[in-house]
């Protein structure tokens, strides 16, 4: 039960955080070229965006829950279980970020879920 609660917190906060961070980076646009100066400039700009901090705050909650969970559970159980965030992530990307999630991409997400189910049985 404690394991399920921790995983729910990790998945929901992690997904919401990822969507917020993704929204911030999409506002910046494609980073090019990938040189240290350009990367540092982009990071400086990214960390002045409100959505970036909202996202990082939510990801931090998920991250510290993961840190606590890893102190008593196996990494090869915990990390695959958080793959539930694939479903919440694809839904968030489609409805909040307006990405086109093609049938092939949904099929991939479903296979990932099947993989997670297999992992939780063992």
């Amino acid at each position: 039960m404690r394991l399920v609660l921790f995983i729910a917190i990790i998945v929901l906060c992690g997904t919401a955080g990822d969507i917020a961070v993704s929204h911030a980076m999409k506002q910046i646009g494609e980073v090019h070229p990938l040189t240290p100066a350009v990367i540092l400039g982009v990071l400086a700009r990214a960390f002045r965006m409100r959505w970036m901090w909202i996202g990082i705050g939510l990801e931090a909650v998920g991250f510290f829950s993961l840190l606590a969970l890893l102190s008593w559970a196996d990494v090869s159980v915990v990390v695959p279980a958080t793959a539930l965030s694939y479903v919440t992530g694809a839904c968030g990307a489609k409805f909040l970020l307006n990405e086109k999630v093609a049938p092939l991409r949904w099929a991939g997400v479903l296979l990932v879920c099947l993989g997670v189910a297999l992992i939780s049985i063992s």
Binding site: S71, S76, G89
Partner: protein, 136 residues
């Protein structure tokens, strides 16, 4: 920007995300296991756990790896779909299982290996879709 060049950038940053993300999680797990399960929730005990956590070398190496992971992730998201990046980076599960097996001595059953392989199949399907579906 040619789509071939975009693809190469995408794969390089995905590889960086997968490698440093997996390595970071395994290092954090190793560090937290050295500290042991948090059984006593009193403030003094938590302060002691906090000090032990942030003076542990594995924890700092893990955090450094995760920082590299995060920068790669941010750069990738500046052009690629979140619904592409997230599933495509799941190939890291195979790496986590292998690293957990060799570095932490965790046992991995046949069913768990089958799960890891199924996840990889899902990643392969996602990899066949266009990395970017939103306009500039």
């Amino acid at each position: 920007m040619s789509s071939q060049h975009l693809d190469r950038k995408t794969y390089v940053l995905l590889a960086s995300m997968v490698f440093f993300g997996s390595l970071g999680n395994v290092l954090l797990s190793k560090g937290m296991k050295q500290i042991g399960e948090i059984l006593d929730p009193s403030p003094m005990a938590l302060v002691s756990v906090f000090v032990k956590t942030f003076t542990n070398g594995f924890i700092w190496l893990g955090i450094s790896s995760l920082l590299v992971f995060f920068v790669s992730y941010l750069l990738l998201l500046s052009w690629a779909d979140f619904s592409y990046v997230q599933p495509a980076s799941a190939i890291g599960y195979a790496l986590v299982a292998v690293l957990g097996y060799f570095m932490l001595g965790e046992s991995i059953s046949l069913t768990r290996w089958a799960g890891v392989l199924t996840i990889c199949g899902g990643v392969a399907l996602v990899g066949r879709t266009e990395p970017r579906t939103t306009g500039d």
